[in-house]
């Protein structure tokens, strides 16, 4: 059963790093989409949301093409930094963060867009810089909605299978996350192992969902429109 705990640790590491990446990128990009007007915004939104609807294997294939030895990014990284991402846990992180990115992006954008504009306007008139307004007004009023998306993204990352398998493979102790280990155990006829792994991943995801359910935007003094 040691393998199971190793896989769990790896899964939490991959999902954790992927979630931090999504939190920074997703919140930043969502803020741009919620507040700025620019050419190609709708196309940009569609592209960023695509991972939610595309089969993970298709995403995995895209990543292989981009990050592989002969891919534009993979070639560049190898040549100038001697970095290889395919079949590494970092590759699994990229696969997981790509698949779960829309969950943070969508939640954060909705949270920013549902804020009453008058709070940010009031802060501008009070002479506070736009960057400071983001940290002092916008984020504190939108954080519940953002956090719900971040937790969902963590759960989705922890359960990622298709794209991870294609990019990172299934190397026990190195890139074999829980969901990949389940597949391997079933293939190998190790029913006991499969049962335990399935239970483990279910508990992890259930816990995250319960926590995120508690944090869905409340109505009390959150500065959010009441659409009810």
């Amino acid at each position: 059963m040691d393998e199971a705990w190793i896989a769990l640790r790896l899964t939490l590491k991959v999902a954790g790093v992927a979630t931090v990446i999504n939190m920074l990128l997703g919140v930043g990009i969502a803020y741009l989409f919620a507040r700025k007007q620019f050419v190609g915004k709708n196309v940009g939104d569609a592209i960023l949301t695509l991972p939610m609807v595309l089969p993970p294997t298709v995403l995995g294939y895209y990543l292989l093409v981009l990050l592989g030895k002969h891919g534009p990014i993979g070639y560049f990284l190898k040549k100038y930094f001697d970095i290889n991402l395919i079949f590494t846990w970092q590759g699994a992180v990229i696969a997981a963060s790509m698949v779960s990115f829309p969950l943070v992006f969508k939640a954060a954008r909705a949270a920013f867009e549902s804020l009453e504009p008058q709070y940010e306007q009031a802060a501008r008139v009070l002479g506070v810089s736009d960057a400071a307004i983001f940290f002092r007004v916008t984020l504190p009023l939108a954080w519940r909605g953002i956090l719900a998306g971040v937790l969902l993204s963590f759960a989705r990352s922890a359960g990622e299978f298709g794209a991870t398998l294609m990019v990172a493979g299934s190397i026990p102790g190195k890139t074999q996350t829980l969901s990949v280990a389940v597949y391997e155990a079933v293939q190998a006829g190790q029913d006991e192992m499969a049962n335990f792994l399935v239970l483990l991943i279910s508990v992890v995801c259930m816990t995250v969902l319960l926590v995120s359910g508690k944090l869905v935007p409340g109505r009390v003094a959150s500065g959010v429109h009441d659409h009810g």
Partner: protein
């Protein structure tokens, strides 16, 4: 003597079914100027243009001889640079901050909000002046309409703006309170001698507060 306000702005708002044109010219030296008109006449949009929150399509805005906006000269000061106080119709108090944090908001230009325990003489003075000391650690949703208005006024005045813009400041209040706060605002203006522009659709506000009234109808001054 030069005018306090020299305003000549226009802007087109294109909606789905109708286009609304705001085209306003105001030259005034009144310290208590009231813009009067029914709702939807464009008063709030004009006030937003003065504060820098909305950019006019054409024209210029000057206050005390200083250009805040001039389309032809490509001048458009940000709201932060205009040093004008603004009291929003629904007050727009930050819901996640206490009364004292709301009032002290502009005295801290950093990236993070101050905690609850700080001392700032200026903020203390305003708390005292508006009788808000007992409410310093309450949140906006715990305040009555009149208390919220006092907090909004104190928050706007604490950074010593050059003028104060008030968007229907009494509309959320009942009649008795309305009368009292109107007097309070009048006294405050006298005391601080800070120019104020107040917008209202209420004739009583006009009578008891203004020393000049400008009527706005369908986006035009008349």
């Amino acid at each position: 003597m030069a005018n306090l306000w020299n305003i000549a702005v226009s802007k087109e708002y294109a909606g789905k079914n109708r286009t609304f044109n705001l085209d306003v010219k105001i030259q005034s030296s009144a310290e208590r100027l009231v813009l009067f008109g029914v709702s939807g006449s464009g008063k709030t949009q004009l006030l937003r243009m003065l504060s820098g929150l909305v950019k006019p399509d054409q024209g210029s805005i000057e206050f005390e001889g200083k250009t805040l906006f001039n389309r032809n000269a490509a001048v458009n000061l940000s709201p932060q640079e205009r040093s004008l106080g603004y009291v929003f119709q629904e007050y727009a108090l930050f819901p996640h901050l206490t009364v004292i944090q709301n009032i002290a908001f502009s005295s801290n230009k950093g990236w993070f909000n101050k905690g609850q325990s700080f001392t700032d003489e200026n903020v203390e003075n305003w708390l005292e002046k508006f009788e808000l000391k007992n409410l310093a650690y309450q949140y906006p949703h715990q305040l009555s309409g009149g208390q919220s208005q006092r907090v909004a006024l104190a928050r706007a005045l604490v950074c010593q703006p050059k003028a104060l813009l008030l968007d229907e400041p009494f509309s959320a209040l009942d009649d008795g309170l309305r009368k009292a706060l109107r007097m309070e605002l009048y006294e405050l203006q006298k005391q601080l001698s800070i120019p104020m522009i107040l917008i209202s659709h209420n004739l009583d506000d006009v009578r008891s507060f203004s020393d000049e009234v400008i009527q706005i109808r369908e986006g035009r001054t008349i």
